[in-house]
Structure formats: C-alpha cells, structure tokens
Amino acid sequence: MALDSKVPKGPIKDKWTDYKNKIDLVNPANKRHIDVIVVGTGLAGGSAAATLAELGYNVKAFAYQDSPRRAHSIAAQGGINAAKNYQGDGDSTYRLFYDTVKGGDYRSREANVYRLAEVSSNIIDQCVAQGVPFARDYGGLLDNRSFGGVLVSRTFYAKGQTGQQLLLGAYSAMNRQIARGKIEMFNRHEMLDVVIVDGKARGIIARNLITGEIERHSAHAVVVGSGGYGNVYFLSTNAMGSNATAAWKIHKKGAYFANPCYTQIHPTCIPRSGDYQSKLTLMSESLRNDGRIWVPKNMEDVLAIREGRKKPTELSEDERDYYLERRYPAFGNLVPRDVASRAAKERCDAGYGVNATGEAVYLDFASAFERYGKEQAKIHNIENPSPAKIKELGQAIVEAKYGNLFQMYEKIIDQNPYETPMMIYPAVHYTMGGVWVDYNLMTTIPGCYCIGEANFSDHGANRLGASALMQGLADGYFVLPYTIGDYLSDDIRTGKIPTDSKEFDEAEKEVTKRINFFVNNKGTKSVDYFHKKLGKVMWDKAGMSRNAQGLTEAMAEIKAIREEFWKEVYVPGTADEMNPELEKAGRVADFLELGELFAKDALMRNESCGGHFREESAELDGPQKGEAKRNDKDFAFVAAWEYKGEPADAVLHKEELEFKDIELKQRSYK
C-alpha cells in the first residue's frame, strides 16, 4: 500500500482553514447514533474524549489507572508553548512552526507542524476558560518563560506542574461529560486488541484489571492516545505502567509504525543508584541556564571521588573538565538535549563518571552563586563582601529560581546541592516515533486514529521543550474532533456495531489464549527479569549512540530474549483476578517485539538526525569534527514499517518529506 499523507493542497498557511471548510460534517442529531472509543486519558486522549462527547458522540474512554487524572501527562513539569506573542518579542505562528521543524532536525511533516503552531493559541484560551491556574504577572496577565533552543518567550506554565494542571483541566471537561452520560469511563481497564470488521476499526477487546474479565466494546471509530514507548528501555522517566501495548496491537493489525528509533534522551536526570532502580527522575532542563557541567580532568581524582577520599569541591578550576564549554564554546552548557546527552556519555564511557556506577557527571552551581552573589552585593551596597557572604546572597537567588528542584534532589540523593555539585546523567524521556498517521491523524487502518505521543507526527527526530503538551492538546481539542467527523459522516446509517460477530469472537479468543498461556506457563523467571535484560540491550546498543554492528547484535539479542521469554516466563496468580504480574507480562511481550523493530529502524537509518546518532554518520574533519551529520539526500523520509510477523521481516514504506516553506540546514552549536 502506498502511503498517502492526505495533506491538503494550497499555501501552508491556508491548508487547515480550507480543509475545515470543505470536510463533511455529521449533523448533531446523527452524532448521538455514533460511538467512539478513546484509549488513554492523558492530554491527548482526555481532551479528545471530552471534546467528542461535547459534540454529541457517545464516547467510551479507557484508562489502566484508577482515574483519568493519573495518566502520565500529569508529570510534565516545564510548560506549554503557544505562539501568542504576549511578550511582543516577535513570536508568530510561522516562528513556532519554524522552530519546531528545525528542532526536529527536519524530519517532520511541514503541514502537520504548521497546523500545530496555528492552533497553539486556542489551547491557551481554552485552558484558561476551563480554570487552569497558569502563572500570572502583577498586572493579572499571563506570564511566560523561555525554553531551550528558541529565541522568544512563548512558554506558559503553572509552577513546575504544568502537565498536572492541563491534565486536570481536560479531566474536569471529561467529568462534566461523564456526569451527562456522554462519556462512559472505564477505569482500570486495558485495551488488549483492536477489532477490525470489513477492513475498518470497529471496536476493542479490553481486560477489566480488577476482575480479569475480558470485555468486548464496539464503536464506529477507535482512537488510540496511549502515550510513548520509552519503557522499552526498562528505565526511563515514564510511569511504571506506561506501555506500548495499545499502539503495538494496532500495528499488528495493520497500522504502520513510524520512526521507532527516534527517542529523546534527556540530559538532566538523577543518576541510577543501583540494580534495584525502578525508574528515573527528570530534573528540569532549566537548570542548565545556571549550572556548569563537568567531570574531573585526571583519572586519579575520579577514583578518589568515587572512593570518597576526595570531595568535588576540593578540585581546583584547572583540575576540572567543563567538557561542554570546551567542545561547544558558542552554546556551552545550553546545547540541545541530544548533544548534551551524548557528550555526557562520551566522558563516562571514557571512565570519568563520578559516582559508584560510573554514570554521572556534575552540574555545578558554584559559579552561579558567585555571579548572583556579587550582583546582589552591589545592589545592596555591601562593600568588600566576604566569599561566604557572596555565596549566601547568590544561593538565595538560586533558591528562588529552582528551590523545589534542589529539594527534590536532596530527597532522592540525600546530598545538599547547595554545598556539593549535583550529579546528573541522561535518561530516556520521550519517543518521537510512533504510529504513522496521515494529516487526519488516521492510521493505515481505516477508522483507527492515533494522537499525542503515541503517533509520530509533529516532532521529527527531536522534540523541543514544552512542545509535547502542546501537541497532545492540539490533537485532542482541535484537530481530531474535526478530522474524525469527515470519516464518521459515512457511518450515520450504520447503526450500532454488534459485538457478537466472528471478528469479535476471534479477537477475544486470541486475547484469552495469550492470557491463559501466561498464567499456565509456570516458567522459571519473572517478567521483570526479561524486561531488565531487554532494557540493557536497548540502552547499550540502541541508546545515545548507535552503530551498525551494535544494532545488528541488538536485533539478534532481543530475538533471543523474546524466545526465552516465551519459554521461561513465570506469572503467578490467575487470569480472573487483579494480577499486576500478568499485566506486566503482556506489556513486556509487546516491548520485546517493538525493541527489535526499533533496532531494525535504527540500523536502516544510516544517518545522524536529532535523537538518533549513528557513529558512522559523523563529520570527519573540519570544525564540526565528530558531530552528527544528517543525510538529506538519502534519508529525508519517514520510515513507516508494516507488520509481517517477525519484527525482522517488517516491510519499509517511505513517506518522502518535502520542505517547501523551510530551507534545510545542518545544525551547528560550535
């Protein structure tokens, strides 16, 4: 099947408006005869469910958590971008569009990104109308802050809990519709398959996670907004339950999976402390504005620090290697996320990591204390301040800016970051790849849509800060509710989809068979054993830097782990009760397939772009020596994979990317 992105014709700034003017609509009286299933209740799924119900469709929404409010969008800290230009600093729809395409290293679809930038302002209006308590200035107007990689202040925020407040806004809109009976909410339910009838997505099979009951749910369309697949690495900043199962199930039933190798590894996370580690915690990117990143220059000092014989504060300036400032004098500590992460890995791989695991670098605020302290001394007319006084004054400023992050760090690591530098290390944070969708956000299965982080659409090979929340809400509030109507207008005479068809029988049978396999297998190893093993292969061979040999090995190793999993996995308990181990087994089984496709995609993409760094594709000499080298001649396409059984047999379909409104350039941060 040839991929058709269905991007409307015409100038980029008119596409969305023209499209909306011409699509088919469903009359309000007919909407109440149409059912829509929404899987996932984060920013994308939650906003879509609420909006579709407001329009009059009957919505069934599914979440594995006990409440829609607990979806992992809740954990987003920094903010949400919108091209409001409230600061008068020259922002515009075009500039947000441009920044997003460039930030994505020219691997996203122009028309989708432009539409995202276009609706971004509506999101802020909508959220304020819902009562989202964004930060304000003393005049009562909305405040903004700036984020990495851009030249304007366009980020709206609610303390360090922007994701929480936006999700609670969508949740409140859902609650209003649940109360009206327009959304039927299925908490503690997990989608285990999609049901295809006559080539169209017509329902799902779900498991009630309390009783273990397998349920059939039919609808005229199925929307998957189930988030990203970062937990394929076992350790990530995702929630423990975050999984790829819904996305992977639709892939196996015909939805192409795009660019799985595009993963964002965030440079500022709290390092691992031991093998028992269950997840990683992000520290906001904003810390790099004032922190300097370094490791010791000399190996003796590294060993002394690890063994506790020396403190980092005892090292003089010339015993420290501020490696980002050394390698990237122009951007220094503020290089983009992917560059900062790779540089930390390079130093730690060379043996300079500063903690027991050898995987940590310092983020040091000492010079910020001094800089701010001297400034404060001047402001307060303190003559000849002592170094201690300067530090005290400076610390107060840093505390006002990042106090909550310093406190969070201290709770986890039990060290005072005002007295000793923080330790950080990169961690998997977001996946830009995902289910392939056209301009309508429809997958290659008719009637099956994919929104938010679960799809591949807007961030190319790298996502800019504060853009994930924007995309989730854009898809759910302002894009999908239009595009889905165009499809559903053909279904006004269809009537209720029966669940006693052979398609539902077969899908349910497969799901039950797999569950029964797990609880009856009585193998010798726990689910986590396999998940951790997969995670190690992914991290070592498909992590921050990748090469052909490692990726080839990764494919073979993941296949071997998968085979062992199906022989040796042990799941205690039964199928007809609450059984968290059984839930995990199904999710890890899917990660074991996705991981191999991920490695295959990374192997195929023999170029470096955004979060995907191929060692073979680096600049060989000149001032950019060693840096990532994109290859637009051969790789300016979206890689959409078709499922053919074994992940290794997946078939590649290319969607060529055209850049008509933006000129392609190599990124440089030297």
């Binding site: 409440s67 959220c127 308590p133 304000r136 609650n175 423990m240 709770k411 205690p572």
Partner: protein, 248 residues
C-alpha cells in the same frame, strides 16, 4: 539493612484480610520505599508466591496513585511526600514496618494494599468543572485578568493530587480537604463564579452520599497531605456552602 514487614494481605474485596509477616534483607538505604516493595515482590515471585498488590505509577510524587499507610501514617514517616518518594534511609536496620492500605468506609479494599477511590471520581463529576465547551473561539486568554495573588492561591489549591491521604489519616474519614481544594480553586477564579453556588452544593451532597465523615478540625489531613494543601480550603468551602444555601 534487614527488615521485618507486616503487610495487609486480602485476596479480593470480599475475602477476609490479615496481616502477614515477611523478611527482606540487604535493603539499601538509597532505595525508595516502593523499590523495597519491588525487592519483596521479586522474592515472592521467585519462590512461587503471590506478590503484594499495591497501586503506584509515576513514582515521582505527582500522579497520586500510590497509597500506603506505613507505621500508622498515610505515606509514611516523612512530610510533604507521597509513598513513592519515601526513602529507606528513614528506617533503621532491624525495624519492623507495618504496611496497610488507606482505610476508610468510602475506600473499600480491592486487593492487598489497593483501594477503590471511585468516590473521589463521583465527587468531581458532581461539579468539579467549569461548563465550557471546546471551541476555537473562546475569548483571548488575556481578556480575563486575574490578580497574581488569586491565581497563586488557586494554583496552591489545584496542586491536590487526589491520593486520599487526607481521608485515610482523618479519624472521621472526612474528604473535606480534597473537596475544599477543588471548590477553592474555582471559587478563587472569575471563570468559576457563574456556577459557584451549584458546584459547592452538588459536590458536598455527593461527598455526604459517599459516606465520608465530617470535619472536626483536628488538622491531621493538612499534616499528612503530600502537597501541603492548607486547611483554609475547608474554611473557604464552608463559607461558599453557607452562602450558596442561604441564597437558596
């Protein structure tokens, strides 16, 4: 460190539960409490026993899913944190730790340490929203100026994560801190004024219907709240409720 755990085990909502003793060894002080529970569960799985079911998800203190009553305190012996942010350095080698689910009539046990908090959902559905549809033409966000003070106070109320620690810790199993926080968020904002009276009446009525107890001002909820939600929110809810009922 080596520890003895006394954990509430209950097969399902109908079964009779009991405390069961377990031993865990070589627990690092750097582990989080839930990582210690992971170690226990891995141990149980490897010996063919059923692991302890407990709710958890984000493990960074924001989703509100985790809900353990540890040594008689909701979220355990540290302040301003959820169970997932509690670290083992708060305990000593040889300690016996008692772990129970959040207990309240309105939070029935589903299994082991997992409780049903659907009562909170129904309270939110009774009025925890502003009735505005999604459209591309709501007024510009800056057409509604809100004083910084009111916006900050609304934000403080809105930080509630809906974990239920306030209920679990209250001797009356009162949900007034939870409900007060939501009522306050909207009461402090101009967008919430239009429906303010109906909102507070409906949410309070649902809260009573769910079987939560009353508030007797002991303030335990505020102490145990991982997000530091202030008792002022209960006072504000009471004011809102009084004025709503007087208006009729």
């Amino acid at each position: 460190m080596n520890l003895t755990l006394k954990i509430w085990r209950q097969k399902d909502s109908k079964a009779k539960g009991q405390m069961v003793d377990y031993k865990v060894t070589e627990i690092s002080e750097h582990m989080s409490f839930l990582e210690m529970m992971d170690v226990l569960n891995e141990q149980l799985v490897n010996s063919g026993e059923e692991p302890v079911a407990f709710d958890h998800d984000c493990r960074e203190g924001i989703c509100g899913m985790c809900s353990m009553y540890i040594n008689g305190e909701a979220h355990g012996p540290d302040r301003g944190i959820t169970t997932c942010q509690l670290h083992m350095r708060m305990f000593n080698d040889g300690d016996t730790i008692t772990i129970e689910p959040f207990r309240a009539a309105a939070f029935p046990v589903i299994k082991d340490l997992v409780v049903d908090r659907m009562a909170f959902e129904r309270i939110q559905q009774a009025g925890g929203y502003i009735s505005v549809n999604t459209s591309g033409n709501t007024q510009d966000a800056n057409n509604i100026p809100i004083s910084k003070h009111a916006a900050d106070e609304a934000m403080d109320a809105a930080t509630c994560i809906g974990c239920g620690a306030c209920v679990a810790t209250c001797k009356n199993s009162s949900a007034m801190l939870f409900v007060g926080a939501k009522v306050s968020q909207y009461a402090l904002l101009p967008q919430g004024q239009v429906e303010a009276a109906d909102r507070v009446k409906n949410m309070v009525a649902q809260m009573d219907l769910e079987g939560f107890g009353n508030c007797t001002n002991t303030g335990a909820c505020e102490v145990e709240c991982p997000k530091g939600i202030s008792l002022e929110n209960i006072a504000r809810m009471n004011r809102e409720y009084l004025s709503a009922t007087l208006k009729g």
